[in-house]
């Protein structure tokens, strides 16, 4: 699907509820988060950013550049693939694709900021924490997320939050970043109702209009 007329690409099977952030707002939000990270502990020489694949990695790279702009050295950026630590491997169908983990330096006695795009159940963060612990004993681990959408299933909270959004469980928060998706935005999506999907399949134009109004 292609983005058309400046509107974000909505994946098939979903309809747009609303746009949570556009490109400008996303840039401002990341910049604020970078400042908060520096403000919390100005000694950034011992800082490491670790992004959770997939969107957490480009987000961590951007934060690293913004931290440099906000005062000091650009922290190293790592990437975590939490697949090997998932708690649902025995129940998901097929095998999740392994994308690989890359932690570029020792995290012993360093301040680690874990970066992910969306905080939801907290299970991804749990897996990421378990994986990080296997790489060494960090002085402190903090969590930065672009969107906190609630519905936690574990006692986990973020230290730096771009935006809090109340959502229903069935909704999807989709972060799109230029590096992976060709544009910057955050979308709140509804699952397409079977009825709407049928309408969309028959007279295409009518279905689309209906979806846009919701």
């Amino acid at each position: 699907m292609t983005a058309k007329g400046g509107h974000a690409a909505v994946p098939p099977g979903f309809v747009l509820a609303r746009e949570l952030m556009d490109g400008q707002r996303l840039a401002r939000t990341l910049s604020r988060m970078a400042h908060e990270i520096v403000k919390h502990d100005p000694e950034v020489a011992r800082l490491v950013l670790v992004g959770v694949r997939t969107r957490g990695v480009p987000m961590a790279r951007r934060l690293a550049r913004l931290i440099k702009a906000a005062g000091g050295a650009e922290p190293p950026v790592g990437a975590l693939d939490i697949t090997l630590y998932r708690d649902d491997l025995t129940t998901v169908a097929g095998q999740p694709v392994i994308q690989g983990t890359d932690v570029p330096c020792s995290i012993d006695n360093r301040r680690v900021v874990l970066v992910d795009d969306v905080l939801f159940t907290g299970r991804t963060v749990r897996a990421a924490l378990d994986e990080l612990v296997d790489f060494g004993r960090a002085a402190r681990i903090e969590l930065a997320v672009l969107v906190d959408r609630g519905h936690r299933e574990l006692p986990i909270r973020a230290d730096y939050v771009g935006q809090e959004v109340s959502t229903s469980r069935a909704q999807i928060v989709q972060v799109q970043l230029t590096e992976d998706d060709g544009r910057d935005c955050v979308l709140l999506l509804d699952r397409e109702k079977p009825m709407a999907a049928a309408l969309k399949a028959a007279p295409r134009a009518a279905g689309k209009k209906k979806a846009a109004r919701r």
């Binding site: 090997l84 630590y85 998901v92 095998q95 392994i98 296997d134």
Partner: protein, 309 residues
């Protein structure tokens, strides 16, 4: 990107995209071996039985390391210390082990087809760790991973496979894999060690110098003394003179040729020590990659919910 089978019995039935999936997964899992704590919880609570009816160092050890790194519980049964000595059949042994509810059986056996036989009669996933002169799929996969790392690709590579083609399951699996992935294979061995029909799979020569000409990679095969009942060649010395890989002969291949050997090596027979330890040799890379490939196979067969078939 997926691997749709419940077993890994050989390379022959696999599609190129399945082979690529295994290699890509191995490539990404290799990083775990370099971590300060070389263990991930992925296969916690899964049990694997390694059933080895033939001697093995590398294959067995690397399956065991891969199982430990991925947190699977495993036990290894070798015939020397098992009830096989008392005359128990393969099927009875397997059925009794299955009664203990393992998720996977890794089997090595002197008879071709042993792994397929178990796959027909067992509930567990079966991985073929070498069956007679038939296939040794994980060896071919680790060879391919090594080649891909060193050459950046498999497609279009000129690969010479030299030695005891008759008894070599490594050769068979490699011929399947390399040709499926678009490499060009040439085979070379003494006329007495070339089985009939092999020339249907790849061109065969008895002249080693011809086989090595311009090769990107040379795979040496072990002279399998234990499988040779009759006299296939006059003496080991003569074998070395006519088919051994020497520094002189390596020069016929491309300058950046890589040399593989599945081990164990007969130094001074199929390969000269100066070659085995020389700059072209990637024999120890093969061993490390062997662990990564077996991790990938374990992950793809045991990670995720029970596959349908």
């Amino acid at each position: 990107m997926s691997y749709p089978h419940r077993h890994l019995l050989g390379i022959e039935p696999l599609l190129p995209e399945h082979i690529k999936t295994i290699l890509d997964t191995a490539e990404r899992l290799r990083e775990v071996l370099d971590r300060p704590i070389k263990k991930v919880p992925t296969l916690r609570g899964r049990t694997v039985v390694n059933l080895f009816y033939e001697a093995s160092t590398r294959t067995r050890a690397s399956f065991e390391v891969a199982q430990k790194v991925l947190s699977a519980d495993s036990l290894t049964i070798t015939t020397a210390t098992s009830s096989v000595q008392k005359g128990e059949t393969l099927l009875d042994t397997a059925r009794n082990l299955e009664a203990m509810n393992p998720d996977m059986i890794v089997v090595r056996h002197a008879s071709s087809g042993a792994a397929h036989f178990l796959a027909r009669h067992c509930r567990s996933s079966i991985v073929n760790a070498g069956d007679g002169a038939h296939e040794h799929p994980t060896q071919a996969l680790l060879d391919a991973l090594t080649l891909r790392q060193k050459k950046g690709r498999l497609e279009g590579l000129e690969v010479a496979i030299v030695g005891d083609l008759m008894h070599s399951r490594v050769a068979r699996s490699n011929i399947w894999l390399l040709t499926k992935m678009g490499a060009r294979v040439r085979l070379c061995g003494p006329p007495t060690l070339i089985p009939p029909g092999l020339d249907h799979l790849a061109p065969v020569t008895t002249n080693i110098d011809e086989a090595l000409e311009g090769a990107d990679a040379i795979m040496m095969l072990r002279v399998q003394m234990e499988r040779m009942a009759g006299g296939f060649f006059p003496s080991l010395r003569e074998y070395h003179q006519r088919y051994g890989l020497t520094v002189e002969r390596v020069k016929r291949a491309k300058k950046d040729v890589v040399i593989l050997h599945p081990g164990p090596m007969n130094r001074g027979v199929e390969i000269a020590s100066e070659v085995a330890d020389g700059p072209w040799s990637v024999i120890l890379d093969q061993v490390t990659n062997g662990v990564a490939v077996r991790m990938a196979v374990l992950y793809l067969l045991l990670g995720g919910a029970e596959a349908a078939a």
